[in-house]
Point group: D2
Chain length 346, copies 4
Amino acid sequence: MGESKPRVGVIGATGYSGMELIRLLLLHPNVQLTYLAGSRARSESFGAMFLHLAHLEGVSVEAFDVEACKQACDLAFVALPSGESGRVAAALWSAGLRVIDLSGDLRLPADVYQAWYGHTPVETSAQAAAVYGLTEFARDEIASAQLVANPGCYATAAVLALKPLQDHPILQAGIPVIVDAKSGVTGAGRSAKTHLQFAELTDDFYPYKVGKHQHVPEIEQALGAEVPIVLTTQLLPVSRGIFASVYITLTTEVDREAIYQRYLETYANEPFVHVLPYGEVPHIKAVQGTNFCHIGLVLDEQKKVLQVFSVIDNLQKGAAGQALQNANLMLRRNETDGLNAAALWM
Amino acid sequence: MGESKPRVGVIGATGYSGMELIRLLLLHPNVQLTYLAGSRARSESFGAMFLHLAHLEGVSVEAFDVEACKQACDLAFVALPSGESGRVAAALWSAGLRVIDLSGDLRLPADVYQAWYGHTPVETSAQAAAVYGLTEFARDEIASAQLVANPGCYATAAVLALKPLQDHPILQAGIPVIVDAKSGVTGAGRSAKTHLQFAELTDDFYPYKVGKHQHVPEIEQALGAEVPIVLTTQLLPVSRGIFASVYITLTTEVDREAIYQRYLETYANEPFVHVLPYGEVPHIKAVQGTNFCHIGLVLDEQKKVLQVFSVIDNLQKGAAGQALQNANLMLRRNETDGLNAAALWM
Amino acid sequence: MGESKPRVGVIGATGYSGMELIRLLLLHPNVQLTYLAGSRARSESFGAMFLHLAHLEGVSVEAFDVEACKQACDLAFVALPSGESGRVAAALWSAGLRVIDLSGDLRLPADVYQAWYGHTPVETSAQAAAVYGLTEFARDEIASAQLVANPGCYATAAVLALKPLQDHPILQAGIPVIVDAKSGVTGAGRSAKTHLQFAELTDDFYPYKVGKHQHVPEIEQALGAEVPIVLTTQLLPVSRGIFASVYITLTTEVDREAIYQRYLETYANEPFVHVLPYGEVPHIKAVQGTNFCHIGLVLDEQKKVLQVFSVIDNLQKGAAGQALQNANLMLRRNETDGLNAAALWM
Amino acid sequence: MGESKPRVGVIGATGYSGMELIRLLLLHPNVQLTYLAGSRARSESFGAMFLHLAHLEGVSVEAFDVEACKQACDLAFVALPSGESGRVAAALWSAGLRVIDLSGDLRLPADVYQAWYGHTPVETSAQAAAVYGLTEFARDEIASAQLVANPGCYATAAVLALKPLQDHPILQAGIPVIVDAKSGVTGAGRSAKTHLQFAELTDDFYPYKVGKHQHVPEIEQALGAEVPIVLTTQLLPVSRGIFASVYITLTTEVDREAIYQRYLETYANEPFVHVLPYGEVPHIKAVQGTNFCHIGLVLDEQKKVLQVFSVIDNLQKGAAGQALQNANLMLRRNETDGLNAAALWM
């Protein structure tokens, strides 16, 4: 880890988002990982706990401490469970550290947060100060931010699918936009639960939190308009990947080519958002282990329904990858540093 | 195989639907399997080809012949590829045998068939004579039918989900009903294709035939009304199971309890359709290897969207299981004979 | 549940072996399930907890009580965690009930038990009284037993693979027999553990308890001779199935055909053990969800190593299925009653 | 693709090894990919065929031509089917190009090749000239080689597990070494076969080519001694990864610590071979998508059997990764260039 590179830390090292961040940071060419903490210290080195990193330099996990973190880092990622994460992020931010919080705690106004998360909100000043970190649409604010609320996985997939149409009349008719979303199981976190065991989940598929997922208000807020969203979240028997099938019911004729051009133009220079040729559909395999979002469009002209398909890796563009993309902006690195992996496919 | 039991045959023995039929028939208490045929004869016994049946009495696969089939059977199941299947079924029916065709060849009028399947239709007289075999809604016609067109897998899942609302105003507003459907890969058949190989499909999820799936007109025909259907078919990395997420956009207030009661009443005495408690969601695991359909309902009262979730095993209620249920009616067996399996779950 | 059928109960209803027993018993034609208990009572009905049985008659789970169990049952299956299971089985047996214990608690002498399990042994009188229930080799003792110690899953696969050679010189040379065994994850039980979560286990394969698995002494005891066993147990990313690859290093010439004939003869009339044609290999798929054991043999004549491949479903022939097979003997049912399922294959 | 970097080509671009090579080469910092060929030209760009590379610069696949290849490249990788691959490699080598052949065609003497592969051997001069490219044990010859026969996947896993003991007495007793090996299905190649379809392979596990796998003579040749190898190859329901469980039966006492030290010393400075702490076992997940080999040792002192567990990714250290490692040596790049990925784990 070179001496002059910016120093970063990860709090929440043993959850899935934290593990993925660490994997990315250990291979990052232009930042150094200098601090790892969790709710409690671990006696084993990280490489001993996680054999896929066994060959990388040993790092140990400390019990979190604000002051130690501040001394060790220029920027901290906080990836703790909802409720705890926002409080830790706010404390570090108050202490003067730049912070990216991967939880949902700082993304929503207090009243909306409480209604959907069921927790008492974190200090409102932190929530108010936090920049919503959907990179493609807030580069400048993120680059200068002290505190970033990193977007949710479903919200990232849905908002990237809909943002090019944000001010288009077809989103303004008041007919609910259907987001039928499917996620790999890492989205449910690493803590052990019977229903997430291999023997229970393999060969299965089912919805959860129907009508109640906390990413609904996040999507609606990000689209900045009166677009009612129906989000159905469903568990896929795969480890990583979100597939969002978005259905927009049209009330008027639309020009298919004009719609498609909006997507091409919106994402023309984006390093991580790829619009497929019209009519082609994305695959979650094509983005697993990467920070990419692939988007496909199909218009059913007879039935008058526009379908937008959007895929991301929930742990990358949906969490750790986007957090690192944001950190690269904040630390004046190349935006794509450490994020150039191509998916394995097979 | 007892002497006085009705004799049945399977043509198309080595495809997935045919294999599943044979597995069910070899364990059936009240019919005997007396004829197995494919496009060509096989020198190996069925048990040698398919180790899961290695312990059952050996049966061999003949090259198909109308006369031999007629001599050997009281009823024939035809489960050949589209195009070929309807022709064989029509030939057997013309020769006086009772027939259940598992393909899509006899389900639609000639013009609709040609538009969606791209084949020249089978003889129209057979198509006109065939009874559409969605058991729950055509028991009497099926019981006396000479020729049954067994429903498609996606169509079965979607129609069972929507049938209780067929004459309800919420289906008559002209707003497309969205059927976001996910299927296990046995639905794609048994012939070898690179994109269906394990290494390609594991960990993946993606749509196919968007806007073009041939079950669209079948669903619209079965609902017998002006209900526009948008059907998106998607491949799940599991072997069996269809999960249909159906979205009905409401234009008026509806009484949640009244809607739910329609489902309970429609399926109150059905042995294979199970309506879950309101708000609970079905799992494909709960029906794999069985002839069941599980249905769950959730009404989003704020967004005014009714969600119906429907699951079946595509090879059972979506193919071989429903065919056997129909054969039981035609042969005056108990409707549930040979279909009492409970899913493994884990 | 007919009135004159023998009444059976399951203690340990919500573990995987218990769940599988209940699934089998609810469909059993000739016994009735009259008692379900766990460590604590459950307010939900079994069908509400486990959707794959949602359509079957509701049964509820009581907190275990010796007297209530004795009143309700003619025979009890005990499928609790090791340590607890043997104590409950011994208590019921002392109270006069016939019992089948699915744990390892009653399979071994006290000293061996303590060395391999690390628990204080259960009352020695129960252990001494228990009949080791490998059905094929102890039918008469099982039929008249008051207390049966049902074999372990790995032990069943290994012993069925080796028993035909028990008194053959090739097992008497003192060279260790290698049993490289692979198991589906239901073998690890249902309680939630991070390393058994889908996201951790999918795409993985690894050994565990190398040289320390408690089925080693069970196998050595069952072979009743000085046959040293090296057992390596490994986790497969599948739900069910044990595949045992057994390697016997030969010190003399052997007659391949004579060896093969021993297998054919040993299992000639067995309803659940199927010896494949010489040179063919078994598949775990062929026995999943069934009580079958498939065995294949290959002799490497140049290298002088005999390979025996043996597969079972760990929850059926390796647990609940064999327990039911034994119960059928004890209750004078047909040995195969309730065990006639054929595997799905696809 | 920078101008002064060595230029490389891949022949066999659409098989799994070729695809993996291309994925690695497109991200390689110090070589440029300048030629892609297959048995026939493809009209689509590579990125359109393979969505996981959709964002990388388009490259097209030509029909193979010796002269075109020679003009375009400094070094060629040949990854065609056995039989064809060696002929193409020999032709390019004869034409003066440096070549790495990923097939088995050039690894064995003509008589052994014909006995195990069943093909007529490729020109013997090419076979005689080819350096066997197990990198860790032939660095100098590889660096200066004109023609490299890249090792087989099973052979790499087995030989890396046994090489530290090559001249130790425990391998010289004449007792067969058992290599119970399990492989992900990409090892079976990309051409479509029914038994490799997802619906057939998921949930299954089984051996194939028992006693007949062509990597047996390759392993025996690489160990350069009279070590009889029994290799059992088995299919895992995962995409990538080989797990080799190696059993060495001991005839004398051995010093466990001395054995372990041999492994530590042999691989002390190896960038891609990692010896785990004594008694720990490797996981295939820890090396998927990487060029690593992880090795674990357990000695059963009572039974006198040494177990060595070795894991690699069959498409990386077992094929494309090791080929690139060798190319880096041949082209005077850093040996680890383009090979620094860490596995995803979850």
